[in-house]
């Protein structure tokens, strides 16, 4: 389907995409963006259909190789398509992590068989993927994972638990890290597996967050059999795969991935400052000099955050900054996010105690409950500060008690027991 377009120039491609989108994709309602649609329950089913529509129309996987179902076109083609797609509903749930993180990791380390089996299926909307990385026994210390994979002939038997996987309940496959060698130092005894999520021995639980969200999941593995041919990369060398995966993740989060299509939140992006200005007007507080200062401060943080992302992403690609400088925008977003939540509370004043249903003040009050979310997810602020001081500024590394020691001699937390069991 893609060969005929392989040499099409960007502007011709753009015009063809524009006409095709108008004909085939549902137009978004005024003021709605793909981000808002994502939280609707029937969304995943709809997103699979839309991804299939993109594939059948010859517009899926713009930068993916032709042999895996993509178009083999350039980054410029991808960006042109995304720009054209902003007014339309797009299956953006496939972007991250499926297409921007896990597909490129498979392309880097998967066998030919693995790539041909899964990448076209992703592009057709048949396979939604998630990451099984973090474990309940340790958040920041990813390589200290204790999920166990024991070889038994042609299979590995998995036992343990993973956590903080977004949307695992609706996904099909995961890339999962598990420990295969307990006598090696922690980074050298891990293996990466392709794992079918809905199968006997795997239980997926949605986690209810303080603000009512339930996207995050925890999974429990009870003697799950994984065929040896589902190992990605070398046995015991899963950390190499994970490190590359994390680079793809950084690109995806920073907006630098060539493998996405469409943009979540593309039509809004007005920022918290503009939103708070509206709330202050709703509440008749727009003339209070203190409120004016606070709302403007949010606007300042919005803008400086955008400018910092631009500086750091450009600086990393030009070599001015080392790759770990990606922690700078992350820490900025987290710390300014905390400040924004605080300011939100100040702006709404007594409305944080109680509000009329539908009032925007209520959203801000409830949002405060997740104030620390951004400072924890994807590496806590404290980890980011370690990374910046050690790997950007070159300051001495923290003492590590597990360095170069066999993992079975290192003190670590036990794997959690099954739901309903003791502890957890």
């Amino acid at each position: 389907m893609a060969e005929s377009t392989a040499t099409e120039d960007v502007e011709a491609f753009r015009l063809r995409a524009r006409a095709w989108l108008a004909e085939n994709m549902p137009r978004l309602a005024e003021g709605v963006d793909n981000h808002q649609i994502m939280v609707e329950d029937e969304y995943a089913v709809r997103a699979r259909q839309l991804q299939r529509t993109l594939f059948d129309g010859g517009f899926a996987g713009i930068c993916f190789p032709v042999e895996y179902g993509g178009l083999g076109l350039s980054r410029a083609h991808q960006q042109a398509f995304t720009q054209e797609s902003i007014p339309y509903e797009m299956p953006v749930v496939f972007n991250t992590p499926t297409l921007s993180i896990l597909a490129p990791t498979l392309m880097d380390f998967g066998t030919e068989e693995q790539k041909r089996r899964h990448i076209p299926a992703m592009l057709k909307g048949e396979e939604l993927w998630v990451q099984f990385l973090s474990e309940p026994s340790g958040g920041s210390d990813l390589a200290g994972l204790v999920t166990r994979a024991t070889r038994d002939g042609d299979v590995f038997i998995l036992n343990g638990s993973k956590i903080w996987s977004s949307g695992a309940f609706r996904a099909d496959y995961a890339l999962c890290l598990a420990r295969t060698n307990w006598h090696a130092p922690k980074h050298r005894g891990i293996t990466c597996f392709i794992l079918k999520i809905h199968q006997p021995g795997i239980e997926v639980q949605q986690i209810k967050m303080v603000n009512g969200w339930n996207e995050f999941c925890q999974e429990f593995f009870d003697d799950v059999a994984v065929p040896v041919e589902d190992v990605v990369g070398e046995i015991d060398d899963g950390w190499t795969v994970a490190s590359r995966l994390l680079i793809h993740e950084r690109n995806a989060v920073g907006g630098a991935s060539p493998y996405t299509s469409g943009m979540a939140g593309g039509s809004v992006g007005r920022g918290i400052g503009a939103h708070l200005a509206g709330v202050a007007r709703d509440l008749g507080r727009q003339d209070d000099p203190r409120v004016r200062q606070l709302v403007a401060e949010c606007r300042v943080l919005d803008r400086v955050g955008q400018q910092l992302v631009e500086r750091v992403t450009t600086g990393i690609s030009s070599g001015h900054f080392p790759a770990p400088a990606g922690s700078l925008p992350r820490l900025f977003a987290a710390t300014s996010g905390e400040r924004n939540f605080d300011i939100g509370l100040e702006v709404i004043g007594a409305h944080a105690a109680g509000w009329t249903e539908g009032e925007r003040a209520g959203e801000l009050a409830r949002a405060f409950l997740m104030r620390q979310g951004g400072s924890l997810g994807g590496g806590s602020n404290e980890m980011q500060r370690n990374i910046i001081s050690e790997r950007v500024l070159g300051m001495p590394r923290e003492f590590a008690a597990d360095k170069d020691r066999p993992f079975d001699e290192v003190l670590h937390n036990a794997a959690p027991s099954r739901p309903g069991g003791a502890g957890g």
Binding site: R292, A296, V304, T314, I388, L393
Partner: protein, 393 residues
């Protein structure tokens, strides 16, 4: 303990996406400015000039700086100016950042603002008699905008210019005015029948009284300018009578963009010094740099420093390109940097320990400088108010 050094990279693209992508000509401007500053006014020299030089610098030094382009980057080529990259403000902020690194003296903001104003809106006589010597570094000019208690905005201007005998008579008080005592000419903002107008007034005209203030900075001088029935010709008007509001806004944007780059240069220099110190200073048998409590403070400072660089450049690029967002972006930058720069230098003092609050340590010269810049051309609070207005509040 290999550290990641600063490695400037030359521009290859058509437009600089960030200030990390500079053209070769811009790098040359930066390098010649840095070399000139390193040889002619290291911080020790700045300290000497603080006591010795009435204006904070020798006149000959400023003239040599002007030869490097310090005064002409915002001026059109036909008026004797010229940029090195085609983006004069993006060149000038490189110079400003370098001057910040060594807390160099000199009326960089006022001369450039007045030069830009005269090039854009001055008449032939202004350009020939006033602008040309400014460009040559032989003459200095000051911009008189704020008034006591004012907010560096048009609303704060109460000074008046009354039409009389074919010219105008100016009355009012302007303060603080940078470089007023060193200046040969003052660009004065006043109201003609309530409408904003700019006048070019000789510093020594009858009725102009300049009273130096005690300045927080050791080498940058500020003063109060009183205009007591100062008579000027009609030809003293720069731009349209009653139509100066847009020019004033543009000049304020230029001034703030330069200030922001200057503050970033100052903070960047002291951050490097403090980081270095953390590797060299030992306590309990370990370098300071090995303590996690301190590493995390350095990480935060690095974050703020890079954010300051990013927003300073964002402001300069928006103003240079005449973007719709220029007014917002300069206020964003001034608000952020104006708050962060003094706070970060205070952190540098804390990380140095007691030596940081001594006269002999250079840190206080940098704190003085950023407090000066924070306070001139609108405080962070003033600029947040400008942002609130732009948000429709």
């Amino acid at each position: 303990m290999a550290r990641v050094g600063r490695g400037g990279t030359a521009a290859t693209g058509e437009e600089a996406a960030v200030d990390l992508q500079r053209s070769e000509d811009q790098e040359l401007l930066r390098e010649t400015t840095r070399k000139f500053l390193d040889t002619t006014c290291p911080v020790a020299t700045v300290r000497e000039w603080a006591d010795k030089e009435p204006d904070g610098y020798p006149a000959e030094w400023w003239r040599r700086g002007a030869e490097l382009g310090w005064t002409s980057l915002l001026v059109a080529e036909e008026d004797g100016g010229g940029s090195v990259s085609g983006h004069g403000l993006l060149d000038l902020v490189l110079v400003a950042e370098e001057l910040g690194r060594t807390v160099a003296p000199g009326p960089l903001v006022p001369t450039n603002v007045v030069a830009a104003a005269l090039s854009a809106s001055g008449n032939e006589a202004h350009k020939a008699e006033v602008l040309a010597p400014i460009l040559a570094g032989e003459s200095v000019a000051a911009w008189c905008l704020a008034e006591p208690g004012g907010r560096w905005s048009a609303e704060g201007v109460a000074a008046t210019a009354r039409p009389a005998g074919g010219g105008y008579v100016l009355d009012g008080v302007k303060s603080p005015v940078e470089a007023a005592a060193a200046a040969d000419h003052l660009l004065v903002v006043a109201r003609v029948d309530g409408a904003l107008t700019q006048f070019l007034v000789p510093r020594h005209a009858p009725g102009v009284h300049v009273t130096p203030l005690d300045s927080i900075d050791l080498v940058r001088r500020v003063a109060t300018v009183e205009l007591d029935s100062v008579a000027v010709d009609a030809s003293a008007v720069v731009g349209e009578v009653g139509g100066a509001a847009d020019d004033i806004e543009r000049q304020l944007q230029l001034a703030v963009a330069v200030q922001c780059a200057h503050m970033v240069g100052a903070v960047d220099a002291m951050f490097s010094v403090t980081l270095e110190y953390s590797f060299d200073r030992y306590t309990f048998g370990r370098p300071l740099a090995s303590y996690q409590a301190l590493k995390h403070r350095f990480a935060d400072m690095k974050l703020w420093l890079e954010a300051c660089h990013a927003t300073a450049f964002g402001a300069a690029r928006a103003v240079d390109g005449g973007s719709d967002r220029a007014a917002e972006y300069v206020s964003v930058a001034k608000s952020y940097i104006g708050d962060k720069a003094p706070a970060m230098l205070s952190d540098c003092v804390q990380l140095h320990g007691g030596i940081g609050v001594t006269w002999d340590h250079d840190l206080h010269l940098y704190i003085r400088r950023v407090v000066l810049e924070r306070s001139l051309m609108g405080t962070p609070e003033d600029h947040r108010e400008r942002i609130a207005v732009r948000l429709g509040m």
